[in-house]
Symmetry: C2
Subunit: 240 residues, 2 copies
């Protein structure tokens, strides 16, 4: 038996090029959906329900008496209670609760992976990096690293995370995928200081979040293994 | 007046994300379409007509009494006369002639850029690197670097070329584009030895062409400024 394969999709608009069926798909949306998801579940949230619109978030919030969260242009979206920052979800607040989170890029990708028949869908962030890597090695199945990007454009931080995974796991997988090697190369360049790398390379999300005064959020989302959980996407919910 | 903008599309499947209208689009298909185009025109070909199928190539060849060229799986395609290698098009053979060349990825992108209303479409390769760069600086217009990739997947060599252009021209353009910075970063890593970089990063085209015994072609296509022309795509033909 050969090694399982690993591919990287740098944008949701490229996911259709990969055979998602019978694969583990790792959804990556570093700033900030999959980081917030890891934090909320690590801090004891019962489940996180990702939805693609504020309207759906409000509706589910009413139906299920749960926390509703989401931002538009750096502000809590009208009709919702909380924002997208990990810092809003400490254990004393979120434990035992259901969090409905509006995300655009990440949710789209979760739905797409599900629709295409992925065997398993998990979410990855630097906060739960080692949990993801350990799981992928243990499962010994084909893997697709799926970057959420930003409105279908590729972005540096999601690619860096893919590169970090590949740099760690390249010996466990057969990798015939230029995007994967490009990601690993980017991570080689940036790993010394991910924050400075985003800043020095003029990363679009870096600027967007800095404009909202969210340097602390960016730094948090680039921190390794401070929320060591493995979020599974099952029945349209994320649970551990 | 601010600087003109520069964006990089890493795959034809991402080109729709960029506003091609009123831009110069640089089509990049390093292995080997845009390298062969530069060589043939440099060696005096009257024009190169890129087409997307062998059938169309055969038809045009009959109508226009021109050279027909194209490969499938490393062999000259049935019904055509020549292959995709620059080495088949020395001056003594190609001068004054019309070359009809079947390419899949490159032609698709040329058509797409034209359909979307690009102001100007040119082709880039390492062989005509400085001609492209000098032109882009002189024109002082918005630029999109459009990588042909392989069947809509991103590839290392086209991204490296985009990165080479960006590394040289970054001060002349306003660049708010993660893909551009990722490309420049890849080029920083690879520029010392592009051939070894493709080899060491297991580039898919490197393997495909090596399997056909085409190391010499790969090395040729990675050589700077040995065919200093500027091919324009006008009336569905490439001319200088």
């Amino acid at each position: 038996m050969g090694k399982p394969t690993l591919y990287t999709s740098l944008s949701p608009a490229l996911l259709h090029l990969y055979n998602v069926r019978d694969c583990i798909v790792v959804v990556i949306d570093i700033l900030r959906a999959t980081s917030t998801i890891a934090t909320a579940l690590y801090n004891g949230a019962r489940e996180v329900i990702p939805v693609d619109s504020v309207e759906k978030c409000i509706r589910l919030g009413k139906e299920m008496a749960c926390i509703t969260a989401g931002e538009r242009d750096g502000q809590i979206a009208e009709g919702l209670q909380y924002g997208n920052s990990s810092f809003e979800y400490p254990r004393e607040f979120v434990q035992g609760k259901i969090l409905v989170l509006t995300t655009t890029n990440g949710t789209k990708l979760l739905h797409a992976a599900l629709a295409k028949g992925a065997t398993e869908i998990i979410t990855g962030s630097f906060l739960n990096f080692s949990s993801v890597c350990d799981h992928l090695v243990q499962e010994n199945r084909n893997v697709i690293l799926a970057c959420a990007g930003w409105k279908d454009k590729v972005n540096i931080e999601d690619t860096l995370f893919a590169g970090a995974v590949i740099s760690k796991l390249r010996d466990s997988f057969e990798i015939n995928c230029d995007a994967s090697y490009m990601s690993a190369c980017l991570y080689q360049e940036g790993q010394q200081n991910l924050y400075d790398f985003l800043k020095n390379n003029n990363a679009s999300h870096y600027h967007r979040l800095m404009n909202f005064g969210l340097e602390k959020d960016i730094r948090h989302c680039l921190t390794l293994d401070i929320a060591s959980v493995l979020p599974y996407y099952i029945n349209e919910r994320l649970v551990i």
